[in-house]
Subunit: 201 residues, 2 copies
DNA sequence: GTCTATACACCGATAGAC
DNA sequence: GTCTATCGGTGTATAGAC
């Protein structure tokens, strides 16, 4: 369309290099420990021991850095889920992941970021849908195995409802625990574990 | 302890005045529509049509403004809960409130803020505990009424677990809906409404 | 009660030297 | 690949005039 872009376009470095990863590591640490309000090029640089301006050699904008950071995280998480599916008791594994404090906090921050950045939003939506899909498949298989073994028709709780429930509850539990609230936590964890034990003895 | 404060303390306006409320209204609107990263004295002033510096006549710091904003909101919400308890079908009312989009978003933002501000954190903790207490009481009463009527021992799901579940799920549903995700939403809403209908026909 | 003036720190981003 | 220099913009907060 445009025969000549008047802006010559800034010189940029390659994705995937060691420094590139280092910067994303720094960004993750900041999100985890301080929240997205502190995620700035200066803070990232300070953390990894480089100059602020170098951030813009590897990322066009801070928004792009955030998108890349979530993309890397989401890939890692999905691989973790997939691996959990092939473990001995997949549902217990999934629940364990949902209860992992530090990454729950990280994902929480990205969800907040998703409200303000189109790029992040698209990645977050894709991640939610893919991980829910994975969980539904695993749960469906587990329920069917159980039903066949017992000769029962099973399921007052549809698999997708159960996974949604587990994810929401896991997130709420870790978020409240971080604040120092614990009212009802033991009871709700008990209910979930009872449900899991019934499916995966 | 200190016989004389060397800093003369800046001149301050009264809490509760019309302008004071106007500023909190502006702060709420910003949180709802744009998120806490945009909650600045300049943006508040712009919204309500006054100069940025006037914010500091009514609030010592931005942090104090946030605390006051949450305090006002939390008071309003708790009154709403209490009123709902005395309605015809209290549990349906509570679920309705949990599903109210705009205030769920607002509360979400304050929860994120709680991770960064001690003052906000204290208020958020108090709010969570008080509102959960209220809900547990209402649910306990409803279950007992039902159990007495049916002559049953009742309750595989402890009331505090049920309310925790409803709150987490409600928050997750509205947050995802805001992003445009809907996978499993109909199923989970169906399950909850079924549970409610069983208790409050 | 609201305004102007003003300080100082930090932010994203660009240009160009080494 | 990393640095120095630098820009315009925005943030919190204070002092003091009207």
């Amino acid at each position: 369309m445009k025969a000549s872009d008047t802006t010559p376009a800034r010189r940029m470095g390659p994705s995937g290099s060691a420094t590139w990863h280092l910067m994303l590591d720094g960004a993750e640490a900041i999100l985890r420990e301080e929240g997205y309000a502190e995620l700035t090029s200066r803070r990232v640089a300070e953390r990894v021991g480089i100059k602020q301006q170098l951030v813009y050699y590897y990322f066009k904008t801070m928004d792009e850095l955030m998108v890349e950071a979530f993309r890397r995280l989401s890939k890692r998480e999905l691989e973790r889920f997939e691996q959990a599916m092939s473990a001995e008791r997949p549902l217990h594994e999934i629940w364990g992941i949902a209860m992992n404090t530090s990454d729950a906090r990280l994902i929480s921050e990205f969800m907040a970021l998703a409200n303000r950045s189109e790029g992040v939003r698209a990645e977050v939506i894709a991640f939610i849908e893919r991980s829910r899909q994975l969980q539904v498949e695993a749960l469906t298989r587990a329920i069917e195995r159980k039903a066949v073994a017992a000769g029962k028709p099973a399921a007052a709780l549809p698999p997708v409802a159960a996974t949604f429930l587990a994810t929401s509850v896991g997130l709420a539990l870790t978020r409240e625990a971080a604040l120092g609230v614990s009212m009802g936590h033991a009871e709700i964890a008990g209910v979930i574990e009872q449900y899991l034990a019934a499916l995966e003895p």
